[in-house]
Symmetry: C2
Subunit: 454 residues, 2 copies
């Protein structure tokens, strides 16, 4: 295409300069310029993903990532950097395979991933007939005899009608979280789910599941890609299918680990503004969008503020949370410690929806504070950030809600995230430099406003 | 990340149901559902990019693409499909290479692409010292003696500060379009430009250049990737560099070609609403985002309307324009013909900014019509479409402006487009299914409103 005849009305800018403080508008521009031109987030993400790669809680790679984060926070100019101790669960995948027997009696392997935190088959073959259900309602209608001794296959698809894919993910989430419990309680041998994916490829996606406290037998739970799921459903309509699952995943107790924290000291007081993401990832792919992006964006804000010599009133603290994916131990410990140490937190923002082009900021705070942030909307509009109506906050900062801390989460464009989330496809090449830096810009601009206003 | 605790306020929906017609809001939803669930645009784009690939005007591939478009429009349910004859320029690239001589006298090849429509070196080596300038101002300051007989290298970088990359592209565009004329007039042997790219990789990007009518000697013009450009600039600061260019590109006259048109007849009258993109591409990559996306999105709208049995008042016409990239002959011929045939066109929209997640609609029309479209904004908000302030229209429909036709262009998110535009990187895998379908949804929704209102 050509843009030779582009004519863009300076509507937004005009509106801002007269209705909002000119200084804020200029400072927004300065923050954007610094990050878009000199930002190091993209190069940092390349290091994290390529030199360390995926980094599940409890793994050696995760501890390597904590050392890397300490170094990066120091390089960015933090006045103080430390590791916060936290006990995390250790879950290990090990070797795993899933096969189905075709009409000629030949075994055919399916691409699969055991779900995070699930128990495996202890290296033994679990062989059984597959019983297919579309959803929980169909499952509930089946008699116990149809489930007992079988491998239950739930093929509940991601609902493409939702515009925010986060809503579709929420809608399908119970199958990943709970299907093993539902089926285990009724005597099934194992459970297969369709991956929580917005794509139509054959990539399997992992993610956290849990057993109920009253589950007497913890059955193995695995995910297959959307394509395999649809093919399997089709096959099951005309014939019986036997599956053979062999997996070694298991919980291996707990281990001492760390969140990583760095801050620039407040010039006026010691109250704290938190910006963060989670440093851990699943044990597949490179944890690039989930949530390497959030980590490097948070560090980027500290770097930019320091470089620009912004005189922050309050302490601005970057928190790289441990263990978001399979326990939220980092987030819980952080909230516990601020209570214990009697620290005053005036605001916390997390980003864990990927480093995609930003569209808004979700707010969880009092109606008064919410309205105040929404009143800054015109300052954000020239940066494509317009949606301040959503109401949710990151998993790691939610434990601060009962302490009365106003919370927020960056709302990046959601269309591509669940194509790659928790899978081997979540790699550096899926991240765009400008999109990543714009996300950091939005959060930096919000922190600038809150630091001067609260 | 987890979305388990997502809480989304039904603010938008509430607002719409009471302030706008409930029926419009429901019809918007129906159009979105049909396209997001049953849309074939993504599969069609796979066919176009993988079975045909790039398709420069005048090439056999382009003519193959016209047959494919006829077939797809028929499959989509068009009442009438035809080809519109148009003479297009034929430009051919041929073999080409650019080398620079290092300090040891060894030649090193640089990745390069001749600029579209440029003349080459007729297969002969053009060897000369490189003279570096950052921009036009620096070039103007150089004495003729410093330019004559040299190869001039312009390293004007894409300005990362613009939030809309289209503006950065516009800002840098004159170097691609005019550098050969500037340098040729002052006796240079050839010109090298930094590619118009938002990335920092080494991918060269082509695109249209032109000679001035009074250029006595048409010198060769080539582009190199950003990385090579920066390295070359660095080298030139400490030493002389000799370059050797050999290229065979040339204009080869004209050829009869075709735009492809398909329509569903209006139920009330014969006035026409146009939706389109351009079927041609540059001779590199696969023309996926530029503008295969626009073609399959336009066809998608026709398919969805037909499938849904929407009773369109006016004729809805898909135009797959010929020769946008290097001549705009298709767009000019189309405007010429509607005047000749005395057809009444009430609206035309083009999309040529890629099949990325939509953010708005740019409008070129009377203030009254503009205001009316802007008054529909709340209907679009739940789909992430909020920006109705920009004022430009696609290159192919611009020739309709003097005829008084109200024009629009889809405004997709611009962050990733110029990383791949006009390069070997513009391939199918850069397109996301949901983003592509959402773009079609936005245009379909707008056409629904205009069809019932105008």
């Amino acid at each position: 295409m050509k843009y030779s005849t582009i004519k863009i009305l300076p509507l937004f800018l005009g509106g801002i300069l007269f209705s909002q403080s000119k200084q804020d508008s200029l400072q927004f521009r300065n923050i954007a310029d610094e990050i878009l031109v000199n930002g190091t987030a993209y190069e940092n993400l390349h290091q994290l993903t390529k030199n360390i790669g995926h980094r599940l809680s409890g793994s050696d790679a995760y501890e390597k990532a904590t050392d890397w984060a300490v170094l990066k926070l120091k390089e960015a100019g933090a006045d103080k950097v430390w590791k916060e101790e936290v006990m995390v669960p250790v879950w290990e995948r090990g070797k795993e395979s899933l096969q189905i027997k075709d009409q000629n009696g030949k075994w055919k392997p399916l691409r699969m991933l055991s779900l995070g935190n699930s128990e495996g088959t202890k290296g033994k073959n679990v062989e059984a007939e597959i019983v297919f259900v579309k959803n929980k309602e169909d499952f509930d209608k089946l008699p116990d005899a149809a489930i007992k001794g079988k491998i239950v296959f739930f093929n509940y698809a991601f609902n493409q009608k939702f515009i925010s894919t986060g809503q579709a993910y929420g809608d399908a989430g119970k199958y990943r979280r709970s299907a093993a419990s539902w089926a285990g309680k009724r005597g099934a041998k194992a459970v297969i789910i369709r991956s929580l994916s917005s794509a139509f490829d054959d990539v399997p996606h992992t993610g956290m599941m849990r057993y109920d406290a009253d589950d007497t037998f913890k059955i193995a739970a695995v995910a297959i890609g959307p394509k395999s799921a649809d093919e399997l459903e089709k096959t099951l309509k005309t014939q019986k299918v036997i599956a053979k699952l062999n997996s070694n995943c298991a919980m291996k107790g707990e281990k001492l680990s760390h969140s990583v924290i760095g801050e620039i000291t407040g010039n006026k007081d010691k109250s704290v503004i938190v910006v963060g993401g989670h440093l851990d990832s699943w044990d597949v792919g490179e944890g690039a969008q989930d949530d390497g992006a959030g980590i490097v964006q948070s560090i980027e804000i500290l770097r930019a503020f320091k470089k620009m010599g912004l005189k922050n009133n309050h302490t601005i603290r970057v928190v790289c949370f441990a263990n978001e994916e399979n326990g939220v131990k980092g987030g819980n410990k952080y909230a516990e410690n601020i209570k214990k140490n009697n620290e005053n937190h005036i605001f916390a923002i997390e980003t864990d929806g990927g480093g995609f082009t930003p569209r808004g900021i979700a707010l969880v705070m009092s109606p008064e504070k919410r309205q105040q942030v929404q009143s800054w909307k015109n300052l954000f509009l020239p940066y494509g950030v317009y949606n301040f109506d959503m109401q949710y906050a990151g998993t790691d900062i939610e434990p601060m809600e009962p302490l009365g801390v106003p919370l927020a989460e960056l709302v990046p464009d959601s269309q591509r995230y669940f194509d790659i989330h928790h899978s081997d496809e979540d790699t550096f090449d899926k991240v765009n430099r400008r999109e990543l830096l714009l996300g950091a810009t939005t959060m930096g601009q919000l922190i600038y406003m809150i630091d001067k206003s609260w």
